[in-house]
Every structure is written in C-alpha cells, then in structure tokens.
Symmetry: C2
Subunit: 242 residues, 2 copies
C-alpha cells in the first residue's frame, strides 16, 4: 500500500471519511479533495472565481463520459451479434437518470452528499442529486487513479452486484403506461395531443405532444401514432424524473 | 517492437496496408481484422448470422464513446474554470458529424473505406461515411491496444495537428444563417414556422419548426423565438449534414 494511502487511512484527520469511501470504492482513495468535490452539490458550491462556483457539475460531465465508455465496452463484448441500435438502447437503460439515482442509493452515497436543503430547488426535489453525485464520483475516481481503475470500479462494484443486464434486456420500458400510472397516483391529468401530421400513407409523420395538467412536458415524432406517443411519454418521464 | 508487429510490417501479405495504417496511427497495428472491420461500411457488411451483418457500426458505437471520454477529459483539464454547459457545448463542436467527417478526410481515411457505391443510400450521399469510419477506427484502436493508446492517438494525431480549440471556442455556430445560406446555394426554400406558444410573459414557450421545400427538418422550443429558431435550425443542419 502506498504511503499516501496508509496516511489517509490511519493518520489523517479524515480517516473516518476515508474508511467509508474505501468501503464503497474497494480501494483507498488518494486525493480526498476530488471525492469531497464529487459530493458537493451546486447549492453549496464555493465561489472560486467571479461567476464560477466549484461544485460537482464538472466532475459529473467527466464521469458521465467515462461511464458511457465503460458501459459501451461491456455491452459491445457481451453482445457480439447485436447491432448498434440495440447497444445504444441497452446503454440508455443502464445510464438513465432514474437508474443512476437507484444505484447511487444502493451505494449509500446519499449520506455523503452535501447540499443546501433550504434551497429546495428543482434538481433536489427531482432527486437527480443522487445520480449526479454518482457520475461525479466516477469522474473523481478517473482523476484520482486512471481509466482502468474506473472500469474496475464500475464493473466490480456497480455492474456485477447491482445490475441484472439480462433482466434489463427483457424489460421494454413502456413509458406511456409508466407516465399514466404516475399521473393517476399523483392525481394529475395527462393528455396526448396530435399537433400535426404530414405526408401521406406510410410516409405520414405524426407529431404528438403530452400535456400534464395542461402543461407540455414532451413531444414525439414518428411514422406511427403509437411510437410518437411513446417518444413524447419518454421525454415527459425524463423531465418529471419518473 | 513485438514479434507480431515485425511480422505485420515486414512479412505479412498485408504489409502495404499495415504501412499505410502505421502512418496514420503512429504505431504498428496488431489485430488487422479490427481495422479492416472499422473501414467496412454496412453496404458491404458480411452476413455473419441471420439478421446480423458485420460492418463498422458496432465499432462506431464503441469508438464514439471512447472519443467522447477522451475529449471530455481534455476539455475538463484545459478549462478549469468553465462550467459543464460550456464543456458540453465545446465537446459537441469537436465531435459533431461534420467536424468528424472533416477530420476523417484530413487523415485520408476515405481511401481505406470499402462501401457499395451502387447502393447510393442516404448515409453515403450525406457523407457520414467518413465520420462513421473515423469513430470506428477509434473503437478498433481501443480493442487492439487500450484506453491509453486511444487517448494518445486522439491527442497526438487528431487534436494537436488538426483541431484549433481556441478558434472553435470563439466560433459561435450560427445555425440559422448556415441553413439559410445552404438553402440559397442549393436553390431550396426555407421557412421557419411558429407551431404553438404557451404560457404568458417571460414564461412564454415558443415551439418553432423549420421547413425546407415544405418538408419539416426540425423543431425547436425555447422561451425566445430566436433561440427556438436556432435549435430548429441546428437540428435541420444535422439532418441535412450541412
């Protein structure tokens, strides 16, 4: 074990924090400030420069990209005879915000995140807080170690214990029912509305929007009404964080 | 130099091909079949299994993800005081299809790509052929070597010689003028049309679509008409590969 790790784990005043992180990560973190930054929501960002607050948003940008690459490779190798459309869809089932929120919760990241709970802004309410911190954590691991370590963390600590890829493969997410169910539960009104249709016969393109309590939450365009509704509903689920 | 490289470079019947590739890559490729696959367009894909053709599309999926991660890191480090919105925008300036087509042309990949020029399908006409092969090449490098080698290739062989990031930073892509200029040049008619507006005052949301020769090519939604048009125009530029 490198000296810096021994220091972090046994001597540093942060040793409690280091032990918690080590349990999550599977290795002793070196540069603690990266991890602290990963768990700092923008509502408690430090003003570093005029117009610039230091929060986990930049690390989230980086982590999102690293996660995307690792999952791409994993699916590429797991499914040698599936085309890129399938791979893209499978990846978005894994890395969508709701799934990342769940994973973040399973890892217990909630306790580590610092945020201003008075500023009950939309992000916090919608709970993307957890998924954002999850991606930022991956960005932090990448900078603290390297690509191989991020890949190992994602594979061994996330995918193997928490993601059942074969089950995900079977689940066709039915966004329309998901949205309707959610609206019923929340006592909200949902309507799908045809905005326009263009072309004729098979080449007719439908443009549909979905309204929740008369407010538009998404649009979808496709050659069948059913698919256009599905796309609009998917967009609405994303915006509403359902 | 490993024996496999010596064999590929001096003995193999593919040695001419290996030399061309070595010039492009900056290293001697090991697994040639990966590179051959990267340059095989789907119009000449081999039937491997029922319903599955082996072409560069899967490698493109992988390469796109690796490229995204490498560019994310590069921008993250180059701009320590810029927020994730800026980083995302800069990345899309670098990895958009048109720019990748240009880079691919500069690397001379056009000569290596095999495709069926009789099947004048949309992809080939629109010229995304080059950018697709470029991404697939990065996927091939990743599988042939590793992440570090892909990163080195992208940094040393693409970014340093061919991308002027500071100039890109200054250029605000004006998609509306770009689209209008292109339509004038091609003798096509372009119209922006307000589909709907919702809400009141500052919270009024405009939904605009752009028609080229009466056919819809994109929609945009924003709180100002100008921005909604910009988004719609950007979408149309993407679809039309302008």
């Amino acid at each position: 074990m490198p000296i810096s790790s021994i220091y972090n784990l046994y001597i540093s005043s942060d040793k409690e924090y280091v032990r918690i992180l080590t349990n999550i990560l599977g290795f002793v973190p070196r540069n603690l400030s990266l991890y602290k930054l990963a768990f700092r929501h923008k509502s408690v960002g430090n003003h570093v420069k005029k117009g610039f607050k230091d929060s986990n948003e930049r690390l989230e940008f980086l982590g999102d990209a690293i996660l995307g690459a690792v999952i791409a490779e994993l699916l590429f190798k797991k499914y040698p005879f599936k085309d890129e459309g399938f791979l893209t869809e499978m990846r978005s089932k894994i890395v969508n915000r709701n799934h990342l929120n769940q994973l973040s919760r399973k890892l217990g990241l909630g306790h580590l995140i610092s945020y201003d709970n008075k500023s009950a802004n939309r992000t916090i309410q919608q709970g993307s807080l957890l998924g954002d911190a999850f991606e930022a954590l991956i960005g932090a691991i990448y900078l603290d170690k390297n690509y191989a370590a991020s890949r190992k963390f994602i594979t061994d600590r996330i995918v193997k214990p928490h993601i059942d890829i074969d089950t995900l493969e079977q689940t066709e997410t039915n966004y329309k029912s998901k949205l309707i169910e959610w609206c019923q539960r929340e006592g909200r009104d949902v309507t799908f509305e045809l905005i326009s249709e263009e072309g004729e016969g098979r080449a007719r393109l439908f443009n549909i929007r979905v309204l929740v309590d008369s407010e538009e939450y998404g649009q979808g365009q496709d050659y069948t009404k059913k698919n256009a509704e599905k796309i609009a509903a998917e967009r609405a689920c994303e915006v509403l964080n359902i």
